[in-house]
């Protein structure tokens, strides 16, 4: 059994974009990574398979491998159809790092279903999902925003990367380039995280600690930076603080827990680690829980790369008083404004689920014995339970 299998980690790409992200991570990481791509489009599956990733076709009987055509309902149904096929790939898996690009059919439709299934199986999930660029159109963005609460409900940790945030001055790039660059950047970040987990440095971050962080940490913001040459340590921290994905340091200062990975060459000095940690602690809250790991790779000589996951709602087991501060809504304004389930209130799952229906949800079955199946009340309209938005 390889080290990756022992660690119980699986990288799962959902939909065309998710598979591309996963295969970029594969390409950057090299062999031995346990990765799986699922998509409804046979063509994109073949492309991903060519990159050496195991691929599963979703909804073959329903869509005949032609993709969903942007219809999230089809994506959702395809995932339900073939969820069984996913199970053999999940043996021994404890944590799944899931990548998906929201806004289209499979990423948007299948992801919530898969996350729910993983949650039901007791597998921890870290979801890296992208919100489409503003220029991709309002409808894609709305579609993505509709899906987010559904993923959030079952995901242990949700990292939303707004693609617009990746470019400080958008406008110069063509769409195709922009998306490719964006995906490359995110993939680089995930790869870094992955290396941290699997290539031990002298301070090891293991899968178990990620598992714990993910389970307790809630939603996260994700950022990375790099610097080289003299003063690289302080430059990397400055770059990290300026990272738009971390809301220019805002997310760092509000984080309750921080996972920091340092990737560097053989020439990494202890003093540099001290400098990075010291500077970051200045930014973070005094009681912020920090987990740190290093990766030493001779390819990185003369360079330092940092990756950070800033968790919003970490509550340490030893903490006696529960944290009063609600996660700042400013961290996720586009989502928070739109949805009944607030990001950070993840634990909406604990409160018992999506939307609560009073008697009105049952209509004519109001006063009869409910028909229960799989923990659901089948008398409540299916489209409501499945969270389907109807065309008006």
């Amino acid at each position: 059994m390889s080290q990756e299998q022992q660690s119980g980690l699986l990288l799962l790409g959902v939909g065309g974009g998710g598979c591309r992200l996963a295969s970029s991570v594969m390409a950057a990481y090299g062999d031995g990574l346990r990765a799986l791509g699922v998509d409804t489009d046979a063509l994109s599956n073949r492309t991903a398979a060519a990159d050496g990733m195991t691929c599963l076709l979703l909804g073959g009987s329903r869509l005949a491998g032609h993709g969903t055509g942007g219809d999230a309902i089809q994506g959702r149904l395809a995932a339900q159809d073939d969820m069984q096929n996913l199970l053999p790939h999940l043996q021994g898996v404890r944590t799944v790092v899931l990548t998906a690009c929201l806004g289209a059919g499979t990423g948007g439709g299948a992801t919530p279903e898969i996350v729910k299934a993983l949650h039901d199986m007791g597998i921890a999930t870290v979801c890296f999902v992208t919100r489409p660029f503003a220029f991709e159109g309002e409808s894609r963005r709305k579609a993505a925003d509709r899906v987010l609460p559904m993923i959030e409900e079952n995901a242990d940790s949700l990292v939303v990367v707004a693609l617009d945030d990746l470019f400080s001055d958008a406008g110069e790039e063509c769409l195709v380039d922009a998306i490719r660059v964006a995906e490359g950047l995110i993939a680089a970040g995930i790869t870094l995280l992955w290396r941290l987990l699997s290539r031990p440095g002298f301070i090891r971050l293991d899968a178990e600690r990620l598992h714990t962080l993910v389970l307790k940490g809630g939603n996260a913001r994700f950022g990375f930076s790099s610097a080289e040459g003299a003063g690289r340590a302080s430059q990397a921290v400055v770059a990290m603080r300026a990272c738009r994905l971390l809301r220019s340091g805002d997310a760092l200062s509000k984080a309750n827990a921080l996972l920091l990975g340092i990737l560097a060459g053989q020439d990494l000095r202890l003093a540099e680690i001290g400098e990075i940690m010291g500077k970051l602690r200045d930014v973070c809250k005094s009681d912020c829980h920090v987990e740190m790991g290093t990766v030493i790779d001779s390819q990185y000589d003369g360079r330092i790369e940092l990756v950070a996951l800033a968790f919003e709602s970490w509550t340490a087991a030893v903490q006696v008083e529960p944290r009063k501060e609600a996660p700042s809504s400013s961290q996720e304004p586009p989502v928070a404004e739109t949805f009944p389930i607030q990001p950070g209130s993840k634990r909406s799952r604990g409160k018992g689920s999506k939307l609560s229906f009073g008697t009105t949800g049952r209509g004519k079955f109001q006063n009869v014995e409910p028909t229960l199946f799989g923990g659901q009340d089948l008398d409540v309209p299916t489209f409501i339970r499945r969270g389907i938005t109807l065309e008006r």
Binding site: G363, F365, V368, G374, D379, F383, I388, R392
Partner: protein, 420 residues
């Protein structure tokens, strides 16, 4: 357990003794969630049953197959009976009753016997003993057995034996499936019929009745699942290798589709039913985007435009879910891989547009609508699949009369099936 049919009519036993099968017309009653159906069936010596009278009346006071208002349900029974009496020109005083509802369950009970004779050959006595053992199903006190269906024999380790007599073995096993329901719920339905001045001679599970009317011997041999899409319930019965392998009922039906539509568009239930019949589709039509359906104005109701795609989405979600629930039940029973004959849909819900297409997708099996072909006289009736249960119940009545010496083609098929 209900008494055998012949006990109710002693004069028939006399007829049997004379070798003449003069069976009086059989009245079969189904108190469905959306309508009450009374069928009068007359049989000839060939064993075929011909429906000579049909009475239907919209039901009120029934939800999900169960009586919620005795007096309202009674009105439906009386009206349907009157209509059927008139059409068949008979006078009905006793009926067979079909029952359904989420409380109906099936349990498989194995019976076992060690072959004690010196030559270890299975004798008729061994078969009788094992059958008796298998049929001695233990169920809770508040439940009532409707049917005991004997499945196939296992001779030592060799399963799927139909006739073990004369075979050599040490242990003979027979599985019997008991279909049972809550006594009180069944009694409620019986009391409704009694309050309409009619006697109930026997009660049968609706799903089994529909299977009798619809399925052909070849389909049963190939393995098939019959899905009766009713108003309040969805009954299913699966045959593998000619043996009933799974029976059950999901308390979700056409009423749920109507209710979903009513809640989705905030319209009254009767308008939702109307639009379901006229425009609904189990599969979302590719050209439905942007199309609108008009709901005509009525007293206190303004004209409304409804998105066709939204309507299809609501119906698709419900039907898809119902089939998926069903698929998981069949999967649980382990019958899914043995359904070469595919999925047969019957009942009123089978007339929903593109429902076979959806079922085909969900089950990954061929699917079609099943009409009550084993019963005559329904050729001119509109939507005959909605009468499958009542027509099949009449056939059930005929079969429970049948002397085992006669009607050989049917005899083997149902031998043991309705042994009670």
């Amino acid at each position: 357990m209900w008494g055998a049919f012949s006990e109710c009519l002693p004069e028939l036993s006399e007829a049997k003794k004379r070798g003449v099968m003069a069976i009086p017309p059989i009245a079969a009653l189904e108190i469905g969630t959306s309508r009450t159906v009374m069928c009068v069936g007359e049989s000839d010596e060939s064993g075929r049953v011909k429906i000579t009278g049909v009475g239907t009346y919209p039901t009120t006071g029934v939800r999900k197959g169960q009586i919620t208002d005795l007096s309202q349900a009674r009105v439906g029974v009386e009206s349907a009976a009157k209509q059927a009496e008139k059409q068949a020109d008979v006078s009905i005083w006793q009926v067979l009753l079909a029952t359904s509802g989420g409380h109906i369950q099936a349990v498989v009970n194995p019976g076992m016997v060690t072959i004690r004779s010196g030559d270890r050959v299975v004798s008729r006595e061994d078969i009788e003993e094992v059958t008796e053992n298998a049929q001695a199903v233990q169920i809770e006190a508040d439940r009532q057995v409707l049917h005991t269906i004997t499945q196939s024999f296992t001779v030592d380790d060799q399963p799927g034996i139909v006739k073990p007599e004369g075979m050599r073995c040490k242990v003979l096993t027979l599985n019997a499936m008991a279909v049972h329901g809550l006594k009180n719920r069944i009694d409620n339905a019986v009391n409704v019929v009694k309050s309409a001045q009619l006697d109930v001679t026997d009660v049968a599970f609706s799903g089994i009745c529909a299977a009798l009317a619809v399925l052909t011997p070849e389909q049963k041999r190939n393995g098939v699942v019959l899905v009766d899409l009713g108003g309040g319930t969805t009954n299913y019965i699966a045959y593998c290798n000619n043996v009933i392998s799974a029976v059950g009922c999901i308390a979700v039906g056409g009423d749920h589709v109507t209710n979903d539509i009513a809640l989705a568009f905030n319209i009254p239930l009767n308008r939702a039913e109307e639009i379901k019949r006229a425009e609904a589709s189990a599969v979302i039509d590719s050209d439905s985007g942007g199309r609108r359906v008009t709901l005509q104005a009525d007293v206190g109701f303004e004209e409304r435009l409804i998105s066709c795609k939204a309507l299809h989405t609501v119906v698709n979600a419900r039907m898809d879910e119902t089939f998926r629930v069903l698929r998981s039940k069949l999967d649980e029973a382990g019958v899914l891989p043995h359904l070469g004959g595919g999925v047969i849909l019957t009942g009123g819900g089978a007339y929903l547009r593109k429902v076979t297409e959806l079922a085909q997708r969900v089950f990954g099996l061929p699917c079609r609508i099943g009409l009550p072909v084993n019963v005559d006289g329904l050729e001119t009736v509109e939507q005959p699949a909605s009468l499958s249960t009542a027509a099949g119940l009449a056939l059930y009545g005929r079969l429970t009369y049948a002397d085992r010496g006669l009607f050989s083609p049917l005899k083997n098929l149902f031998k043991g099936v309705f042994h009670r």
